[in-house]
Symmetry: C2
Subunit: 302 residues, 2 copies
């Protein structure tokens, strides 16, 4: 099943204890799309970049089977640029520089005609207003999942609350769920979010895994244990993109499907952080994810 | 199979956001023994208390099938007393008062004749010198597991390193594993500890579960999700006591047994924190643990 993803496409300059990269490919929509493409599903990307966006980036995405007809290019503006540094623990980071470029201007997403009948939608990190504008153009969605972050919870609360009534699932991290609900306990926070609209809620706890609350029950997912984390950038985006794509690829829905999709997402994200930018995701295959997912299951099942 | 547990027996005064209790029964050996007794195994406790120790406490332990012949009473001294307060997050606490009493004096554990042929030993939180003295009296152990803490890592490092060469498994939390090895990554830390002696290492991450490294592989265990934590005191001790007792109750060893024992331990500890002191552990049965373990499995398996 085809899957529409809206999110940012960006240039990142990243410094971690393991090294640095200058102006490499990044952005929530790009990470989510590349991770999603590893399921083999057809990904349809919606986003906006500036005149400095090299054609080679578009070609790279297309080589992964990602449809880029929804990637608007604004020649007079610049692509989003983010520069950041991770601390020794790899959990905390500081933003060194951010240039919003095209993202600082008015952006009403235009969903290409060919995307509008897609049933699956992932709203990667971005403004809820923009997410709502995209949803208005979709014609027969069956599953809509959104990500969000502190900025939108603090600054676009009304639009976010409206968005929550229109989606099936929300993915956010533990500090964000606390910010949104005022609840420190992830289980309680997830239940409060369910009352705001989404049927299921996934709260990510970084290196400590994730908890998912659905109408059919609670599901716990430890993180895949890694000894060599190189660059955490995009871990959340690749997790979410992989999750939604895995659901899109499933023949049936239900708790078992959603549990396996969560494991698939965890494993995809574990590959992502083993290299800078998209380096690792671009060198692995669907088989690598399946094999690690099976090892992961062995580590969990008792 | 009978199981020897050495650890403290104490009075605790506890304050948490959910309430307070004055001078209630506590101590690492007591928590571990009561948790262990819930498996139905015969627990043999070794420890020391003062003249202020009420006979009713001993009777209570005996009513759980815990052999107290190894609990030495020193009439001229006082029982260990600890008073502490937990902060809002329930993870951090401060010690308000500690009176070592009998624990501040010379203590060479005396293992009753009837305990010496037991095959399973759990060395609950206590000094490594004391643990070594106990082990010298055991005649045919087949599985020895120890707990430790920052105080002994910092102050009794030599004795602790000697102890590590004599045990099969070590249970400690993530900050302790970092202190012992200098490694922040729990997987790397666990492997370094294996090189110090113990075949398997369990690193507890509090509300985030545990990771176990064995020669046969790595095992991940999320924490059982709770919305109402009342008192975290003794969670680690009940976890460890339940784990060792569950191994003692198993008919065969091997990775499957040890994985299930870890789940059993997690679930037992989850009950423990639902009440002050031993209140919850004293009202549940083995059936309650089995039922929650089965629900826990449902939350994990994919």
């Amino acid at each position: 099943m085809s899957l529409v993803i809206i999110g940012s496409a960006a240039f990142d300059s990243i410094e971690t204890p393991k090294g640095r990269r200058e102006k490499v490919l990044g952005g929530s929509g790009v990470y989510a799309s590349v991770a999603a493409s590893l399921t083999g599903e057809e990904v349809q990307l919606v986003g906006v970049v500036g005149g400095d966006w090299p054609e080679s980036n578009t070609r790279l995405l297309e080589s992964r089977g990602i449809d880029t007809r929804g990637l608007e290019i604004r020649p007079d503006a610049e692509t989003l640029y983010w520069s950041g540094r991770y601390f020794e623990n790899m959990n905390d980071r500081e933003t060194l520089e951010i240039k919003l470029g095209v993202m600082g201007t008015e952006y009403d997403p235009i969903v290409p005609e060919e995307y509008r009948k897609s049933k699956f939608v992932f709203l990667a990190n971005g403004s809820p207003q923009c997410h709502l504008a995209l949803l208005r153009q979709m014609e027969r969605t069956s599953l809509i999942i959104a990500d969000t972050m502190d900025f939108y919870i603090n600054n676009c609360r009304q639009a976010l609350l409206e968005l929550l009534t229109k989606i099936d699932g929300l993915i956010l991290n533990d500090s964000e769920s606390r910010l949104l609900t005022g609840e420190a306990n992830p289980l309680t926070a997830a239940r409060k979010i369910q009352q705001m609209g989404p049927q299921f809620v996934i709260i990510k706890k970084g290196e400590h895994g994730a908890i998912m609350v659905t109408p059919e029950g609670t599901f716990l997912q430890p993180a895949y244990p890694l000894e060599n984390v190189v660059d955490p950038t995009g871990a959340g985006d690749s997790f979410a993109g992989a999750f939604v794509a895995r659901l899109a690829s499933a023949e049936k829905t239900g708790l078992e499907t959603i549990k396996e999709a969560l494991a698939w997402a965890t494993v995809t994200a574990s590959f992502n952080v083993e290299g800078f930018s998209l380096e690792r995701l671009l060198e692995i295959t669907r088989d690598d994810i399946e094999q690690r997912r099976d090892r992961f299951r062995e580590m969990i099942v008792f």
